[in-house]
């Protein structure tokens, strides 16, 4: 607390209200699309609502971050603000960890308790009477009620595309760290090269993941509807995929900022935040690779 100067209090800003309206309209539209779609009602109006909301969100993101970048570039922020941002980002990542924890929890619960019980083992084995003859296996290639949830014909083995993806992501974490060190030493060209490499690796990852999904849907009948294996598989990898895309966007914005000559060797928290986020995404993938694909 030693280096407190006078506090920096930013100007009043319109962005929070814009963000609220945007998010509200967007989600309202999304919910309307789902509800109306399910009832077979026309959804054009809902789609329009959704796109209007999304457009407001994009406008807000550019505007809000633009303001922050401008304030930061004009040297308005004190080291104290910097620490606030750091705490904010760390706790945000922690909340993301807990979000994934919920899905991992669902996976473990299904595998350790629910499926064996349905198969007649353990404490609550009597639930087996619901679907007699159900065999508990993991990966679950026969669902208790195949009519409601047709089982997958196969699953994705870990040592093909997923292994490639693992290598891609781990490498990208390394290249990003190299870029970070280069930034600290003020070798700006090196930063550009390594950061671009990271982004390229990230995009290849997303592409491979998309290819894998197509393969699962078309050839293996492994879909969201194919029982708890498909549900957990797609939700975990899918949310991870969304985070990869978000992380890549952050990195691309950092690249643009570097090309524009932003950041100094000492002060580059925006870059660091994106890097933290990227490492977090990478760690989640390792968890996925071990628990979803291998074991």
């Amino acid at each position: 607390m030693a280096d407190n100067q006078t506090y920096y209090v930013p100007e009043q800003s319109k962005w929070p209200i814009v963000a609220t309206v945007g998010l509200g309209v967007m989600l309202y539209g999304l919910a309307a699309i789902m509800v109306n779609g399910k009832q077979g009602v026309e959804t054009t109006g809902s789609w329009i609502t959704f796109w209007i909301g999304s457009a407001i969100m994009v406008y807000m993101l550019f505007g809000w971050f633009g303001t922050v970048i401008k304030e930061s570039r004009s040297g308005l922020y004190s080291p104290q603000m910097d620490r606030s941002f750091r705490w904010g980002m760390s706790w945000f990542i922690f909340s993301e960890v807990m979000f994934f924890a919920a899905f991992f929890g669902a996976l473990f619960y299904a595998r350790v308790f629910a499926i064996p019980w349905l198969g007649g083992e353990g404490d609550k084995g009597s639930t087996n009477m619901l679907w007699e003859g159900f065999q508990a296996t993991w990966p679950l290639i026969n669902t208790p009620d195949p009519e409601a949830y047709p089982a997958p014909e196969g699953i994705i083995g870990p040592w093909g595309l997923p292994l490639i993806n693992t290598i891609l992501l781990v490498t990208s974490s390394f290249t990003l760290t190299v870029a970070h060190h280069a930034l600290k030493e003020n070798h700006r060209n090196k930063v550009k090269i390594w950061l671009s490499t990271t982004i390229a690796l990230a995009l290849i990852f997303v592409f491979v993941q998309g290819y894998e999904y197509a393969h699962a849907y078309q050839d293996l009948n492994l879909t969201l509807q194919s029982g708890i294996y498909g549900s957990t598989f797609f939700m975990l990898t899918g949310f991870h995929g969304l985070h990869v895309i978000l992380g890549s966007l952050m990195l691309i914005i950092m690249l643009v900022r570097i090309l524009k000559g932003h950041f100094t060797a000492d002060y580059h928290f925006g870059f660091e935040a994106a890097a933290w986020y990227w490492h977090f995404v990478d760690v989640v993938w390792l968890g996925l690779f071990v628990f979803v694909y291998i074991i």
Partner: protein, 493 residues
């Protein structure tokens, strides 16, 4: 802003409670349809928890934490602003479901699957997104609180010198960040189950409805501490102020809050003793739950010890605080009864449970909020409130609240199930008493509105420190506190 919003929601949720109690005034179906009754219980729970109690405490945090740690405002003011605006937005969506085809959510505030997935009304999807928005708002609010406390403290204010309200909020914020994402995850799974054919909570696809309850209560139990810990903090300011003695056992208070928070992660399945979890699980969760009584006991002991041989005066904040200690302890004891797994098989889903959580939430959380409001009103408005009216408010609330909720213990022990619009004749008397009490409590809250408005508009000028026993940085600045109070950090010895 937060406080005004939360009070509006409190009145709305309260109106729904009035509908419930009016229906239960006599046996038989009189006023509303059973479906609408279900929607009322659901919305009453959701609005009170997420719309009234939580924003009220966030509001207190926003106002008091910067004052207490000597900062001008929260650390990330714009984000703070956003997390506020998201709340009305979320509740707009939630309340709009009342007017949709198929009605509002009707499955209780715990929205257990498959009631909420397979058998839920179409508006469930809107409800899910409303929960998402509230979650984003709470997480951002919590991040802000942590950043403010860890980063904006005045020089010299070490962690163990922080006021207790700040401490309890630090721990609450940590709980929020840890559990709100889990809630987001579980409603996302619901969303997928409803709209995209996944089978997280459907056993015919290999999922399990009980999984929903595990995930929900992993969020839900810390959530109840989120609603009570800030009240603990506020009461720990008020009791010393009116006892004119420093708080007894400051360090043990801090550790007790920490212990409660940690334990809260290990007790979720005590809400689920009757769903068929393995016996070893029941025993573990029973013992873990009983352990919570220890740190809570430490706190109650410390409050009583603070009052012991103090020179007590009973202004309105103190009255609410003392009532808080007594009635919260009653709620705690009924919690212990419920925590005992074999006994819980008898009490589960009866009015005993309703009595228990209303005893911890109404005289716990809500009285904590009233106490804080009266305690800090002079600081906020620069005027003293009307003491006579405030005391009337207290006594009417106190009597009404006990009249409403105490008979519920008997109803529950006699076997009246919760969440039903009709009941057997032998429960009629207690239900009538309870309804009268509820109307009394509800009507009294209009008096509170009047007192606050009157106080804001004028009255006797308040000095910088209107309570002679009060301590802390917030009393060193004039009342009302100037805009962006501390632009340079004050010195704390």
């Amino acid at each position: 802003m937060y406080l005004m919003f939360s009070f509006a929601m409190f009145l709305l949720g309260g109106t729904m409670a009035m509908v419930i109690r009016a229906e239960l005034f006599q046996p038989g179906l009189q006023i509303v349809e059973p479906e609408f009754f279900n929607q009322m219980t659901t919305m009453h729970g959701l609005i009170m928890v997420f719309g009234a109690v939580m924003p009220a405490f966030v509001g207190l945090a926003n106002w008091m934490i910067p004052l207490m740690v000597g900062a001008p405002d929260m650390a990330l003011p714009r984000m703070n602003n956003w997390s506020f605006w998201l709340l009305p937005c979320a509740f707009l969506i939630l309340i709009s479901t009342l007017f949709m085809e198929g009605g509002a959510p009707n499955f209780g505030w715990t929205f257990y699957a498959p009631l909420s997935t397979t058998y839920g009304p179409p508006s469930t999807t809107f409800f899910i997104f409303a929960v998402h928005i509230m979650g984003i708002s709470s997480i951002m609010g919590a991040i802000n609180v942590i950043a403010t406390i860890l980063n904006m403290r005045a020089p010299g204010m070490t962690l163990m010198k922080m006021p207790l309200f700040v401490w309890t909020w630090l721990i609450t914020a940590f709980l929020l960040i840890a559990v709100m994402p889990v809630l987001a995850g579980v409603v996302t799974m619901m969303l997928m189950d409803i709209n995209f054919g996944t089978s997280f909570f459907d056993a015919s696809g290999g999922g399990d409805p009980v999984l929903f309850q595990h995930l929900f209560w992993f969020f839900g139990h810390p959530e109840v501490y989120i609603m009570i810990l800030p009240a603990f903090g506020a009461v720990s300011h008020i009791i010393p102020a009116f006892s004119r003695k420093p708080l007894f056992g400051y360090a043990s208070m801090v550790y007790a809050v920490g212990a409660i928070a940690l334990l809260s992660f290990l007790v979720w399945a005590h809400h689920m003793f009757t769903v068929g979890i393995p016996i070893a699980g029941q025993l573990f969760f029973m013992y873990a739950t009983l352990l919570i009584a220890v740190p809570t006991g430490v706190k109650v002991f410390n409050w009583v010890a603070t009052m012991f041989r103090g020179s007590l005066t009973f202004e309105a904040p103190m009255l609410f605080a003392v009532a808080f200690v007594i009635l919260f302890t009653i709620g705690g004891f009924s919690g212990l009864m419920l925590a005992i797994a074999p006994a819980d098989f008898q009490y589960h889903d009866t009015y005993f449970v309703v009595a228990h959580f209303h005893y911890v939430l109404v005289p716990g959380a809500i009285f904590g909020i009233f106490a804080s409001a009266y305690f800090w009103l002079p600081k906020w408005t620069g005027h003293m409130y009307d003491e006579t009216l405030a005391k009337t408010h207290f006594w009417l609330s106190f009597v009404g609240m006990n009249l409403a909720f105490f008979p519920m213990h008997f109803l529950g022990l006699a076997g009246m199930p919760r969440r039903i619009p009709d009941y057997a004749l032998q429960f009629a008397d207690f239900n009538m008493v309870s309804s009268i009490g509820a109307f009394m409590f509800g009507a009294t809250q209009l008096l509170f509105l009047f007192i606050v408005v009157k106080c804001a508009r004028g009255g006797e000028k308040a000095s910088a420190k209107p309570w002679d026993g009060a301590e802390g940085l917030e009393w060193t600045v004039p009342s009302p506190a100037p805009y962006h109070t501390f632009s340079t950090p004050p010195e704390v010895k």
